[in-house]
Amino acid sequence: MKIELRHGAGGVDTSRLIKNIFARHFHSPVLDRMEDGAVLPRPEGDIVLTTDSFVVQPLEFAGGDIGRLSVCGTVNDLSCMGAQPRYLTAAFILEEGLEADLLERIVASMAHTADEAGVQIVAGDTKVVEGNGGMFINTAGCGVRPAGRDVSSANLKPGDQLILSGTLGDHHGTILSARMNLASSLKSDCAPLTGMVEKLFSGHIDVHTIRDVTRGGLATVLCELAEASGCSAELDEEALPVSEGVRALCGILGLDPLTMGNEGKLLIAVPEPDAARALQIVKSAPYGENAAVIGEVKPGKGVALKTSVGSMRTVSPLRGEGLPRIC
């Protein structure tokens, strides 16, 4: 079956679509009431709210799909604020011609990823527009930040050690290879990192800053953090984890892993005395096995990279479009 405009008209066809696909996979007592809104218990701690839209092309790729991505992106944004993700809303814009089987796979993948991240999908919406069988997802996420967690992009302090939770460029390389019809063994790193972040807090690490290294890559993210914090940062090229597959793709296409997008990597800044323990915690968490200390925060401005030949170079944020529709 293909999705048609009638599936978004709000009538019988819409109800059937919701019942047969969305309600079958998203199990939540709140959602099952099918009310106009979700009524949620008052939490202890500050509420953190975020939203993100997902337009990735292709819809399914090695290591993930737009559904998994739409959960991970929003959940990881909450975690980077020090919040424990609790609830998600999910809004779908479907293009007519979309295969219902594909939609169901994506919805099932969202449900599975939400379970993994420990969040409930509590509200949703579906629209159908003209088009060529594509789809877009918006998710909003609500999390709760326990008292005492002070993480912010403006919190870098000179001396902080920078931990990267794994290899650079896997998601970018996967999407690009798919679009270029390149045979490749790359897999997207798309993953929920809630568990990793919670382990850092429960391990009493004095976390200053956490950022997910998404569009624009490490170069862009770190330049933004350095500017927000009024510090500089120095990276060590030899310490940067990059998989062989991504390295090979960069060699062919002239890409820089530093400006490639990721969907399951965190950059974590911790004071020097906590660094070794924080690295151990990240390495032992799911998706953290390739984590490494990649550099240090210093006084001053900008981001520099100590190259493998021993010289220094400036690291600049990504300019231009990079790769459109990567997430």
């Binding site: 270029m180 030949v309 010289s311 170079r313 400036t314």
Partner: protein, 354 residues
């Protein structure tokens, strides 16, 4: 990296850092080399005596304005759509770029791989698709497979506007100026045409020609060789990228190129019209050509010095527009547009000490 490789790398880096012989003007022909010399940090090691110049090895940068103008013209024709690699879209023509044309209602789109254009052509038989076939010997085999696929799939609505160029002729012209002491030959091009393709140039002009790769190790090896031989004034050919580049190159690819394309005159920004330096569809395939011959008119925007950048006469910083009037966000010249353009690389990749 094992200790032996590490000490070899250090020795090469030290050699380059401490070079104090006669000043050398060396050219990296390929845009990817320009980028990787910066990114690997190798360029920052070089003393003032080693002056690396960027050459005409960015296909978008050397394409003359009336090639862009012709694409723009096509984009406004009824039932016609121009498809190109993304890099080409922002390059200024004499009136506008392809993106400018699109904003004014022209039909322009981009592809990651030309095969995607063919899928689209199949789905939209009423539209004629003009494919901007730009590149050097490296890209020519891709266009061969596109031509073959168009014929095999019997697509009557696909045409190619070609601006394909071959490197040795351009390097010959640069050698003739006598201003360049040695060349870092383009590694990707050499994979196709073979290292021996550069030997006639080395012998004719008595200059060192070193084929190099793109990693820090390979760049150090190629530059150490190039600096050593240039400083001794020794001409010759050295292949420092032997794991990928064979002396005879990829003969299958060469044969495919020769089957589909024939040499013809081509206009290079900065160098003018060079005999036999272009590739054009042969007679058997001529029905796919969208009028590629004779696009020899190149007028740069007033004051733009891309032509001098592409011949190594100035480095990007010496252009009065560099990072002032001409920036990656508002480029005036093609060298600031393309990700392989020297001006853009100098600007985006940050501070370069030379």
């Amino acid at each position: 990296m094992n200790p032996e490789q590490q000490s070899r790398r250090k020795a090469m880096a030290d050699y380059l850092k401490s070079y104090s012989g006669r000043p050398l003007r060396l050219m990296e022909v390929c845009g990817t080399h320009t980028s990787m010399l910066y990114r690997t940090g190798v360029r920052a090691l070089l003393p003032n005596e080693i002056n690396m110049l960027s050459g005409p090895g960015c296909p978008v940068c050397v394409t003359p304005t009336n090639y862009i103008d012709k694409l723009v013209e096509y984009s406004f024709k009824a039932n016609t759509c121009v498809l190109s690699f993304g890099d080409m879209l922002s390059v200024p023509g004499s009136e506008t770029s392809l993106l400018g044309a699109r904003a004014r209602g022209g039909h322009v789109d981009f592809f990651y791989a030309p095969e995607q254009a063919l899928d689209r052509a199949e789905k939209e038989p009423e539209t004629t698709f003009i494919l901007a076939a730009v590149g050097f010997e490296t890209t020519a085999p891709v266009w061969v497979s596109v031509v073959d696929a168009v014929l095999k799939r019997k697509l009557r609505n696909v045409k190619l506007l070609t601006a394909l160029k071959t490197m040795p002729f351009a390097m010959d012209t640069l050698c003739a100026t006598g201003k360049i002491d040695g060349f870092l030959c383009p590694g990707h091009v050499a994979v196709i045409i073979g290292s021996e393709a550069f030997r006639p140039l080395a012998e004719k002009w008595g200059r060192p020609m070193v084929v190099g790769g793109f990693t820090a190790e390979l760049l150090l090896a190629a530059l150490a060789r190039l600096v050593h031989e240039s400083s001794c004034g020794r001409g010759g050919l050295w292949n420092e990228y032997p794991s990928y580049v064979r002396p005879e190159g990829n003969q299958k690819a060469q044969a495919a190129i020769a089957r589909v394309f024939q040499p013809g005159n081509a206009c290079w920004r900065g160098l003018g019209v060079l005999r036999c330096s272009g590739l054009y569809l042969r007679g058997k395939y001529a029905q796919l050509d969208a009028g590629s011959y004779g696009l020899d008119d190149d007028h740069l925007p007033d004051g733009c010095r891309c032509g001098d950048v592409l011949t190594g006469d100035i480095n990007p910083r010496q252009c009065p527009f560099f990072n002032q009037k001409c920036t990656p966000d508002h480029p005036i010249g093609a060298c600031m547009v393309s990700s392989e353009g020297a001006c853009r690389i100098y600007c985006v990749e940050g501070e370069i000490s030379k």
